[in-house]
Structures are given as C-alpha cells and as structure tokens.
C-alpha cells in the first residue's frame, strides 16, 4: 500500500509513513500470533490523528477532484487496518479471557501490560457478564456441590505450540528449539531476511521486540 495520502510531517521525529508501517506490522503479527501481543496504542492514536487531519484536507478539495477520491480510498484502507487490528485483539481477549486476565494481573504489577486500559476493563466486564449468565442459567439451579464457578476448569489457553511463518528482520543467534519427544534440544540461528517455519513458543519474545516479523 502506498501512502501518498499522508503529506504532512510530524513535529515528532517519526513520520506518518513509519507509523503506518509499524501499524501494518503490528496488525500482521497480531493476526498470525496465537497469543495476544503488547498493544500499540500510541501508534493507533497517532494514526487516528492523521486520519482526522487528512479528512479535513480532503474536504477542502472540490468534490470532483480526482485526488479526493484516491485519498479517500487510501483512508478507508487505513481505517480498515485499524479496525481489524483492534477487532483481532478483542477476539483474542474474549476467547482467552481468563488466561489473559491472569497473566495481565502479574504484568500490571511490573508495568509491562499488554492490554490498554479500556481493553483491560472490557476483559473484566466480559468475564463478569459470562459468570453471571452461567450462574443464573445453570449453576444456581444445579445441586449444591456442583454450583461452583470454577475458573480453572473453564480457562482456554492459546496454543503456543502452533507453527508460524516468519521472516527475520535482523540476525538472531542461538534460538533453542525444545525437543518434546526426546531430550535433544536444537539450537538454530536466523539470518537477516531469511524465512522460516517454526513453533511459536521459542520465538514469541522475538516477535514482541520486533526482531522477527510473522508472515
């Protein structure tokens, strides 16, 4: 996607083009990774600001101007990316609600939270609603010792053992691949620009710090 639509440069060091690129990468990673990734709220908000600005610019152009429709199309695409990115996160939050909330509680203490404030609130509310619904419909009517709402039994974990396609952004050495069947762990290096199919778990941290890109 070309971003000829973004003409203004920021006061900050970062350009609109970089923001879009980061956002696209984040979106791609989020769609392909089995677990939830750290949020990119700054990028989303920055992009939203840009969109607002551009919309104002477009409205200044006469309606028949050919440029206007091209820029509008571009804007729609960017909006779609943002919406889809946020929606993918919501989907994961809903599906892995319990496990995410458990992990997030620990991460909040160390200040490395993955969810934004509103996402966290959403997750809590979602779980509460689910609990209430299950209780009123079923649990409160079944015999006494069956009534417990046992979170540990309902929890769904993302499958970190699933395989992903990835491309190395920079050279990474010494990734340990565990051998589940035996005890012979394998160690591999990723060359810059090379592509691989690997299990998600050993490279999870590399995805989060941007050293590899899921494709």
């Amino acid at each position: 996607m070309d971003n000829d639509g973004i003409e203004l440069s920021d006061e900050e060091e970062i350009t609109a083009q970089t923001v879009l690129r980061t956002l696209q990468n984040a979106w791609q990673n989020e769609r392909l990774a089995p677990e939830i990734l750290p949020h990119q709220n700054d990028m989303v908000e920055c992009m939203l600001g840009q969109i607002q600005h551009m919309e104002r610019n477009i409205n200044k152009l006469p309606k028949t101007d050919f440029r206007a429709s091209i820029h509008k199309m571009e804007l729609n695409r960017i909006k779609f990316i943002i919406c889809n990115y946020l929606k993918t996160r919501l989907y994961k939050i809903e599906k892995y609600c319990i496990s995410i909330l458990n992990d997030e509680k620990q991460r909040l203490e160390s200040g490395t939270n993955y969810l934004t404030h509103s996402e966290y609130k959403y997750a809590q509310e979602y779980l509460l609603n689910m609990e209430n619904h299950l209780k009123t419909t079923a649990l409160n009517q079944v015999p006494g010792n069956m009534q417990t709402f046992d979170l540990n039994k309902l929890v769904i974990y993302p499958n970190l053992q699933s395989h992903v396609f990835l491309k190395a952004n920079e050279t990474v050495t010494g990734i340990v691949l565990e051998d589940l069947s035996g005890d012979q762990d394998e160690e591999i290096d990723l060359e810059e620009g090379s592509q691989h199919i690997l299990q998600y778990k050993p490279i999870a941290d590399l995805v989060k710090n941007g050293k590899v890109q899921l494709v």
Binding site: L48, G49, S69, N76, F80, E119, N129, T137, A138, V142
Partner: protein, 195 residues
C-alpha cells in the same frame, strides 16, 4: 442412562454451527432435574456408606455423571454465547424480533450487557486525542472500491450522505454510493450489492 439428554443437547447445537437455534428450555430443565435426582441418590448412599463400602463405586459413577452433565451444560451455553456475539456484530445493538425469540431471557440480558460493554469500549477508542470513538462493526470487509452499485429492496425513505447530499431510497431503485455508507444498510437487508 445418565447424561444422555445432555449429549442430545450438544448434538443439536453442533448440527447448525453457523446459525442459532431456539434455546432448548425444556431439555435444560430435564438435565438439571436429572442432576438433582442423581445428587439425592448420592447423598442417601453416601450417608449409608460409612460402614458399607460396597456402594462407593456407585457413588463415584453418579458423581462423574454429575460432573459430566455440568460440563456439557456449560459447553452448550458457552457455544450459544459465541453465536450471540456474532449476532451483535451482524445486527448491531437491536435484534430483529424473530432472532430475539430464539434467545432465552437470561441470554437476552447477556446480549444487552455484552452490547453495552462493547459500545463503551468502542466509545473509549481514541478519546485521548478528541475522537468520539470508532465503530468497529463497520469495515468488516476490506474495502475493494470506493463506490459500489446497490439495489434498494424496500422503501426506506431519505438518506443523507456524509457530504450532505440527500438521496431517496425507493424499492427497486439503483444507486451508486460510497461503500462506507452502505455497509450497515446492506447488512440490515435494505440495500443489496449488485456485482
């Protein structure tokens, strides 16, 4: 045999994966009843078994049946919840009456809560920079082109576009409209996209 009804319930939910069926109130009630019967029998036997250990196996089996019933019942409700979520994304916060009838009262309450929660999340998006929120239920599909040709299926009346133009949507009239403005109307079945 124990746990047979609950399997019927799950099979029923499994049969139509993409659509939602009528909430099976009757069967859920029967299952809960079965659980009560099992529980009473177990209580009676458990009290009697302190000296007589021959009943322990029976109690164990009944307990497993209870656990199984509970688990399957929750699975049924959970899979329905997932389907109801899809409804929220497709229809918005107001359900058409025929769909509304398929849900139990408690499910409907859950739906409204889910809907409120989702709405307040969407409103909070971009609030720091003066945005009034983003509707994530728009833009469900990647935009292919800026304008699409649509056929109007009902007499809808006037529609004001973003740029201020007002068009009249009459039955069987054809329009060439911005994609972003028709999405909701298409999903509501007022417009239909013509290839």
């Amino acid at each position: 045999m124990f746990g047979e009804k609950v399997i019927e319930l799950l099979k029923e939910a499994e049969r139509n994966r993409d659509t939602i069926d009528q909430y099976n109130d009757e069967k859920v009630r029967q299952i809960i009843e079965e659980m009560h019967v099992l529980f009473k029998m177990n209580m009676a036997d458990a009290n009697a078994t302190t000296e007589n250990k021959s009943l322990w196996t029976t109690v164990q089996v009944r307990h497993s049946a209870l656990e199984r019933n509970k688990r399957c019942l929750l699975a049924y409700l959970y899979s329905r919840m997932n389907k109801i979520k899809t409804l929220r994304w497709e229809f918005g916060s107001v359900l058409p009456p025929d769909v509304r009838e398929l849900l139990s009262d408690s499910e409907y309450e859950w739906f409204s809560k889910y809907s409120t929660n989702l709405a307040s999340y969407m409103r909070s998006l971009g609030q720091d920079i003066g945005y009034s929120g983003i509707d994530l239920t728009e833009n469900l599909r990647p935009p292919k082109s800026l304008y699409i040709e649509v056929l109007c299926l009902t007499d809808y009346g006037k529609l004001e576009l973003e740029d201020g133009d007002v068009i009249l949507l009459k039955k069987n009239s054809r329009h060439f409209l911005p994609t972003s403005e028709c999405q909701t109307l298409i999903r509501q079945g007022i417009l239909k996209q013509i290839m």
